[in-house]
Symmetry: C4
Subunit: 283 residues, 4 copies
């Protein structure tokens, strides 16, 4: 409204990136970095304080708002996928091409890797205080669970794989419902609603693995902990468990998204074009 541009507008005139691919990369990288930097810090507060400061409800709402605001910040520049499984779902929808999908994957994984590095640095003193400086993947001083998911003791590989299909499937299903324009959910509420979906999944399908449901969020930090915790992070409880949170979400997201369409989305009527009338009074 002011006719004199403020400092951010002046800087924008100089620094604005017009290249679509670079803009998307910056956005997905930064968004996934933020999501993981904040989310893994939530896990740290849960584990390092023996589940007494952050309780499970803090984990649920904390991660939910981490999604809400990471998505809100990056929605207009890259569509705010921040999750390779969601990107893959859009690929099966024909909304993005194969090359672009890999640009998303790279940006997301790099962002998650650096998010883990950030939390490791930030909570370095606290982790040392907790484990006496000896990093452990299992046992009472284990802290690797801050960064990547490890299954509950009773959980078979098949159980872990199914867990990630179901959790990510529900995420993709409801994301598809919320953004389906025929459902007329106002776009300014989308990010907030995605947060609610996360709370719901955390309260229902979080017990086995801790609902990573995002390959970048699990694999990026696991790779980082390879450097700091050693190769046990790819061997707990066995050599192939890390496959579940890394690949099952891709299957889950495609299945979940298309299930929504098969049962609901295909059969929705097109709304009658109308001006914005918030109420209809039967008269």
């Amino acid at each position: 409204m002011s006719h004199i541009k403020n400092n951010t507008e002046v800087a924008r005139d100089k620094a604005r990136v017009q290249n679509e691919t670079l803009k998307v990369f910056l956005s997905e990288f930064f968004g996934t970095f933020l999501l993981c930097f904040i989310g893994l810090a939530i896990n740290a507060q849960f584990i390092l304080r023996h589940e007494k400061l952050n309780q499970w409800i803090n984990v649920n709402f904390g991660w939910a708002f981490a999604i809400v605001f990471s998505v809100m910040a990056t929605a207009k520049t890259s569509g705010a996928h921040l999750n390779p499984a969601i990107t893959f779902m859009f690929y099966t929808y024909g909304n993005i091409g194969l090359v672009k999908m890999f640009v998303y994957f790279a940006a997301q994984t790099l962002g998650a890797f650096l998010g883990a590095a950030g939390v490791y640095g930030f909570y370095y003193e606290a982790i040392n205080h907790f484990d006496g400086g000896i990093r452990a993947v299992v046992g009472s001083t284990a802290t690797a669970g801050i960064f990547a998911s490890y299954p509950a003791p009773y959980c078979s590989f098949f159980g872990a794989f199914l867990d990630q299909i179901v959790g990510t499937g529900l995420l993709a299903l409801f994301v598809s419902a919320i953004i389906d324009p025929r459902n007329e959910v106002p776009s300014h509420l989308h990010a907030l609603l995605f947060g609610g979906v996360l709370v719901m999944i955390g309260c229902s399908f979080g017990m086995n693995l801790g609902y990573p449901i995002n390959p970048a969020r699990d694999f990026g930090p696991r790779l980082f902990t390879l450097l700091t915790y050693g190769s046990d992070v790819f061997n707990s409880p066995s050599a192939y468990y890390w496959i579940a949170p890394t690949f099952a979400p891709l299957i889950g997201a495609a299945v979940g998204g298309w299930l929504y369409h098969a049962f609901i989305g295909f059969h929705l009527s097109d709304p009658i074009k109308k001006d914005y009338i918030p109420i209809n009074v039967a008269a």
Copy 2:
């Protein structure tokens, strides 16, 4: 906006169901399946982790968001009742006919039955870990409460029956208030508000039976557990207790809905027709 249709739009052109009854059946079946698949998994996380991972607040908010998103996904195809008591309330309002009511009942009960089967399969390893493979309806290793409701020890049959009338009555009362067009609550907020009503009922009238307040959500899963837990599921604490969550909600919903209209709804003025003006400044 794109002139080239994406894959979901192409598939829709081929697979779209135009038959109204089938569309409603698919929507209510799928919606109630999702509600129960997610909701019973929430109960599983509450019971199988000794009320320490999921606490009561997680149960309240988890079920609330399960309602929110199941309703949001199915609102445009079937009105998202997902509960025979709500369907019956609309029947007493004259909004749907007798035959259609039974279509809703069948779809909802089938969805709830399969939702229970899904949770049983999904958490099969976790349940075995908890009860050593011996399914129990009562006692310290009981897990039948994941699926259907069992009254608190002090609770008489009359108390259980009243509990379900009151809980479902409040649900129906506030649903009727929220959707009454004369109250001018924007329709894009309805699903979210129903979730809030569920949190409220869970915090106030959830102590006796665990607020099933939905005959399909209780009877469908109870029927499923007949196959896996045996006939005790219809005999705990006595042979007729299951009647309370199965039939009392129908009475409650009709009473609650009409009470809203008797005290409030009938006496609302019709709003003056106006353009959308979000603020009125007294000047």
Copy 3:
């Protein structure tokens, strides 16, 4: 939209109350009944399960949603005060007259009294299970705190009185801010925001008395417990403590409301009349 009226519309044509005073009475009576019936049941779940089922966060969010939906249901018929302190604040604003204020007071107190009776009946079995059938106002089996407020042991009468001035003052202050048309908060969010104010007060000023901050909500149920718990309900810890939650809120609401106006409300500019433009892009 249908040209055939449904059953609720047909009944409305016959039963509609046009008398303004009766409509207000019905609305405030029913709204305060609902608020107290639900809210006191929340307290019951907190006390009767030893603060382990409902924890404080359930009390905060439960009461918040009880406010949200009681207000939403009665906003268009009576303005949804549901609290004599808020009614008194509007009286000091000159928005309602003296006679009407007492109509509000009577409806609210009667509603709260019957809400307490309803909870007593509803949780009769649970209360007997808790106290062995011997009603107590103090001690480890005390349940009178379900219905009316009793101060923490360290709390002087002056402390209790101040507590109710401050708690109700903040409520009135923020209610006045939210409904001030110059703040342009959309009216469909008012009820939800009042709920948020309640969560906030419960987390900050709920420790001394349990934030009744509503004379009807405290005095009506206390009067009911006089019949069931005996005269100790007006004598714990001393004969005059009940005065604090009954009269201090009136002072608090007037002070809080006018403080908002003195520091903020008076100095707000009138908005420029404009069409609804949700975004302004500085260009």
Copy 4:
């Protein structure tokens, strides 16, 4: 709408402050007073009841709503900074001048100081009950943590300083994203969303110092406790720790705000001017 002005409108005609600086001062003073009066009372309920009444989730949501409503009340009179770090961020944006920045600083710090005094008076009986009347900054009866932040035992000065840069940086980053008009977040949701950001930060970066992330909120109350707790409040654990929550937020806010613009804000397209169309159906 009424043509007869009510009492608040009549009083406004007489008492309205037109001087811009005084209006801003009143608004920021009153808003920061409310924020700290409510927020420090939340801390009191957390500490004085041994983290059992208020748990961490109550602290997170309580402070969040304290932000929401303090911001909502003062948004139109002063922009509702209520935090010198946010004011400094706007200074680096060129949105406010140097003199005005110090007006904000003074009003905020005075408000926070008096908010602390208010909580000290309000909870005087409860604090005496807790510590037997002997004020302590450290140890099992310490209550100084109600007012200002003290680092966790493992936390170095560098760790505390970094903590405040990161926490305030995230706040500033997401505030900048939410208010960026190119993100088209409706302004009536801004205050609510700021509350969500606070919940998120409390769940992720609250473990080291308790997320003060606001120099006025920390320094004002610390100054007040100098009068009541003695000089230990500036010496725990060492003489220079108080510098972290007082100065690091200024750096953090500037860095966080500009990081948002560097990665996202600069590269956003200007929206196409259009009428308010809430849905776009691909047809």
